[in-house]
Chain length 514, copies 2
C-alpha cells in the first residue's frame, strides 16, 4: 500500500462517474489505497481507469457522466477497467435529438484585450506575414520547391518585414474525378486557403496548364485575391523556353508581391480579430481532464472577447452529438450539425467502416478504451458557449463566436481545412506527443501530462498536466492559453516555428482518383 496522498492519485471527472483515471507517472501498483475501502485490485497504468464501485456485467461504465460502455463481465471495486472488459455502445441515432434546448450560460463580454496584427484590406487580420505560392496540381511541385529555395535565399533577405515564403503543395489537381459530387470540397479548400489572412491578399498561383484543376477554379468571382491573370504563372505557357525561364517568371511575380507584403506593419487589433482553430491529436485519458478543459475555458474567453473559435473532428464528436445539438444557438444550427454527422456516417459506410475506426494504439495505451470516451474528452475543448454555426469542409468562416468546422479527425486534414476556414491561430492539445506544425499559421501546442511536457520541453508550448497534479487550476491554465495566444498572434514564436517544423497540407478528397 502506498503512502501518497490519495487526492493526487486519481481523477474522477464527474460526480456520477463510476470510474476514475490514475494520475501518477508510471501508474500505481496493486494494493494502493485510493480512499476509504478503495484499494487497487491490480496494477493500473497512468491514464487508465479504476472502478470506483463494483460494476456488474452489463452495467454502464460511466465517465464524464456518460455511458462510455458496458461491462462485459463483473468488474470489482478497485479493478482495472480495461478495453477488453468494455462493450462499446452503438452510435447515437441522429433522430430525436435535443435541438437547441440548452441555452448557453450568459457570459460577460471580455474587453480590453488586444494583439499586434497585420490588418488586411478585407478586414481580416494576419498574425504572420507570408508570401504564399499556391499550386493547381502536384505536377508543378518540383519547380515550385526550386523557386521557393531561390526566393528564400535571394529575395527574402531584401524584404525584412516578410516572415516566410510558403509553397502550398498538395497531391490534388489532376488524376482525380474533378466533376465528382464531392470534388467541391478539395477545390474550395484550396481556393479558400489562398485567402488566409496571413497571406495579405497576395497569394500567387503556379499552374501547369493541362491539369484538371484549372487556375480559374482557385479564383473567387473569376479573380485570385489580388486580381486575375497577373497572379498565375503557367509552366506550359509558350513564352517559357527552358527551365530557367519558368523559375524567372515565378521569381519576378514573387518579387512584386514581396515588395507589397513588405509594406505591412503590425498594429494594435482587438482580440475579436482572432480566428482560432482548435484540435487535439495523439490524445490520452488526460486530454479530457487537463488540456481540453483548459482550452475550453480559453475558448470561452475568446468568445467573450468577440473572437471566432472553431472546434472540429467529426468522428471525435459524433458520440456527443446530443450535447452539441442541445448547445446549438437555434434548431437550424442543430440541423446543420446533424447533417454533417449523417454525411460522415455515410462516407465511412461506403468503405464498410464506422466511427470506431478512430482511436489509435496510442490512444489505447494512454487509457482511452474507445471512441466514445475519446469523444467526451474531445468535445470539452469547445467550452460552454452556444454553437453559433457549422462550417462545411473547406468553407470560409466569416462570423464571430463558437463554430463547429466539420472536418475529419486526421490532424493534417483538420489543420488544412481550418486554414481554409481562415484561422490565424491554431491550438493543438496532445497527450502522447506530436511535433505537429503548419507552415502558414502558428501552432500553439499544449501537453496533457507533465511527463510529456518535461521530456518534450522544447516542443510543447504549455503544460496542462499541472491540472492533474493539482499544481494549477483549469481556469489558471485557460487564462495562460488565452494570454499565450495573444502573444503568439503578436509575433512570439511557438516551438514549432523555432525549429521550423511543419507538416504537409493534406486535402480532404472524398472522391476517387482516376
Amino acid at each position: 500500500m502506498t503512502t501518497q496522498n490519495p487526492a493526487s492519485l486519481f481523477i474522477q471527472t464527474h460526480e456520477h462517474d463510476n470510474v476514475a483515471i490514475i494520475v501518477n507517472d508510471g501508474g500505481l501498483p496493486a494494493g494502493t489505497l485510493l480512499g476509504p475501502g478503495l484499494a487497487l485490485q491490480e496494477a493500473v497504468p497512468q491514464g487508465h481507469k479504476v472502478a470506483l464501485t463494483e460494476i456488474s456485467e452489463g452495467s454502464a461504465i460511466v465517465r464524464y457522466n456518460v455511458a462510455i460502455g458496458y461491462a462485459l463481465r463483473d468488474i470489482p471495486k478497485g479493478g482495472w477497467v480495461q478495453e477488453a472488459l468494455v462493450r462499446m455502445p452503438g452510435a447515437r441515432c441522429l433522430t430525436s435529438l435535443p435541438m437547441a434546448t440548452r441555452p448557453a450560460l450568459p457570459l460577460d463580454p471580455l474587453e480590453g484585450f488586444t494583439f499586434l496584427g497585420y490588418r488586411n484590406a478585407d478586414g481580416s487580420v494576419g498574425t504572420r506575414n507570408i508570401l504564399a505560392i499556391s499550386t493547381t496540381v502536384q505536377c508543378v511541385s518540383g519547380v515550385v520547391d526550386h523557386a521557393v529555395r531561390r526566393i528564400k535565399s535571394e529575395l527574402l533577405p531584401l524584404f525584412p518585414n516578410v516572415d516566410d515564403v510558403v509553397g502550398l503543395e498538395h497531391t490534388y489537381g489532376c488524376g482525380v474525378a474533378i466533376e465528382a459530387p464531392d470534388a467541391a470540397i478539395p477545390i474550395r479548400t484550396l481556393r479558400n486557403i489562398g485567402l488566409n489572412p496571413n497571406f495579405g491578399g497576395q497569394a500567387m498561383i503556379v499552374s501547369l496548364g493541362c491539369e484538371k484543376m484549372q487556375p480559374e477554379r482557385l479564383m473567387v468571382d473569376g479573380k485570385v485575391p489580388s486580381g486575375g491573370e497577373a497572379c498565375v504563372v503557367c509552366l506550359q505557357d509558350e513564352r517559357h523556353v527552358g527551365f530557367e525561364s519558368m523559375i524567372d517568371s515565378i521569381i519576378k511575380m514573387a518579387h512584386i508581391r514581396l515588395a507589397i507584403l513588405n509594406q505591412r506593419r503590425r498594429q494594435t487589433c482587438p482580440a475579436s480579430d482572432l480566428v482560432v482553430g482548435m484540435q487535439c491529436g495523439g490524445s490520452d485519458a488526460f486530454s479530457g481532464v487537463t488540456a481540453n478543459p483548459a482550452l475550453g475555458f480559453a475558448a470561452d474567453l475568446l468568445v467573450r472577447a468577440g473572437a471566432a473559435v472553431m472546434f472540429s473532428e467529426t468522428t471525435e464528436v459524433r458520440d456527443g452529438i446530443d450535447q452539441l445539438t442541445a448547445r446549438a444557438v437555434n434548431p437550424e444550427v442543430a440541423g446543420d450539425l446533424i447533417r454533417e454527422m449523417a454525411w460522415y456516417d455515410e462516407y465511412l459506410e461506403r468503405s464498410h467502416v464506422d466511427r470506431s475506426a478512430n482511436t489509435t494504439p496510442g490512444n489505447k495505451k494512454g487509457g482511452l478504451v474507445n471512441i466514445v470516451e475519446k469523444a467526451m474528452g474531445s468535445i470539452v475543448k469547445s467550452g460552454s458557449t452556444a454553437i453559433c454555426g457549422v462550417v462545411r469542409p473547406g468553407e470560409k468562416l466569416t462570423k464571430k463566436g463558437l463554430f463547429y468546422a466539420a472536418t475529419p479527425a486526421s490532424d493534417f486534414i483538420c489543420g488544412t481545412l481550418q486554414l481554409a476556414a481562415g484561422m490565424n491561430l491554431h491550438v493543438f492539445t496532445t497527450g502522447r506527443g506530436t511535433p505537429y506544425g503548419l507552415a502558414a499559421v502558428p501552432v500553439l501546442k499544449i501537453a496533457t501530462r507533465s511527463d510529456l511536457a518535461r521530456r518534450w520541453h522544447d516542443l510543447m508550448d504549455i503544460n496542462a498536466g499541472r491540472i492533474a497534479t493539482g499544481e494549477a487550476s483549469i481556469e489558471a491554465v485557460g487564462w495562460e492559453i488565452f494570454h499565450a495566444l495573444l502573444e503568439v498572434a503578436s509575433g512570439r514564436k511557438t516551438w514549432a516555428e523555432h525549429w521550423k517544423l511543419h507538416n504537409a497540407l493534406a486535402l480532404f478528397n472524398p472522391g476517387p482518383v482516376t
Copy 2:
C-alpha cells in the same frame, strides 16, 4: 491552299481509320489540301482530327482501327472532328472477352547489353545509391525534413559513393481506417517502397509511437530490410528528451547506414536486371503515334533482353481491355486483368463517376476527344509481347517480362506504386509537358512533339516528335530510348535529376480517412 508537302501534314494511324491527326505546329488553315479531293473544310489545330471521308450521323469514328466514338451529326470529308461531334461508346463489357487468344509474336532474345548497377544481396540491382528514411505517419515529417537537411549538409559529403538521402514522407499512417478492407494497399505500398533496389536494403524508419500504422506493418516477416528494431527511431521513445535528442537518434542511425551504402560499387550487370516502369502524363493526340509507339518498341527490346517492364494506369487501358486479355500469356492472367478492371469500375462507381472522369482540359486541347482515344494511344507503349502477369496495387514484381501493374492513372500515384513494385528506372512520355520527377528513381522523359522538346529542351530527355515529321522512325527512337535507359541506369543524370526536380509520394488509399 498551302503548298506544303501533304505527306508531312497529317498522320493516319491505321489503314482502316476514317480520321487522321494534323501534324503541323500551329495546326492548318481552312482550304489546306491534304490529298486528292481532301481539303480542310475549316482550320484544324495541331493534334486534332480531320475526317478522311464523309462520316454520317451515327457512324463510327475510327482511329487505331477502333471505334473511338460515333458521329453526333454528319461530318463532311475534310471536317474537324471535334469533341462536341463525338458520342463516347459505353465501357466494354467485362464478360465474353478474348482470353489469351492472340499469341505474342515470337521475338529473338537480345543479348550482350549491359549497364553498371549496384547489385544487392537479394539479387536486385540499384541504379542509384540512396539512403531512404521511411516514415510511418505524416506526424514525423517536420522532424524528418529537419534531420534530412542536417544529414545532407553534415554527413553526406563524408560518403562520396552515396548519391542522396531521401525522406519517404506521405499523408497516410493515422487518421485513416487502418483495418478497412482496402487499407492493405497503402500499407503494402509503403512496405515495398522500403525494399526498392536503390536503397540497398538499408532503408530506416522514423515512427511517432502512437500512430495507427505501427512500424511492424512496414516490416517484412517482422523485420525491416536490414533487421528489426535497430531500424526504427521512435520519437515518443522515453529516452528522447528534447527535440535535439530525436534528431541525434536519426542522424546516428543514418550514419551507420551511410557507411554501409558507401561500400556499394557499380558493376557490370546484364540488361535483364532492369525493372522499368512506364507511364504517360499530359498526353495529347501525338502520344499514341510518336512517344508511346517508340516506347513500345523499346519495351519489346527490354523484354527481349530479359528485363522486367511494367505498364499501368487502369482508366487509360480500360477501353482496350479486349486487346490486353487477348495478349495475356494464359487465361489466368487474362482473368487477373479483368479482376483489376472490375475492381476499378466498382471503385469509381462508389463515387458516382466512371472512366470518363479521366481526360483533362490539356488532353482535349491536345486533340484527344475522349478516354477511348486516349486509351488506344496509351496501350501502345506496352509493345507487342505477351502480358506475363498482373501486379496488384502496391505489390512487388518479382519476375521478368511484360507486366500490367494495376495503378490509377494519376502520375504521382502510378509512380509511387511502380516504386513499390521495385522499378529501378522510370520512363515517362508527355505531349503537353510536365516537369515530373521522383526522388528515389531516375525518370527519363520523352516528348511526343518537337515543339515541346524544343521549348523544354532542358527538361525533356528525348524527342519522339521527330517521328511525326518523318525525321526519325519509331524503331530508331525506340533504340534511342533503350540505349538512354542503359546509360541512365549506369549513372547518367536525367534532366529532372540535373535540376533536382521531384514530386511527392502519393499513396493510393481507396479507404476513408477518419
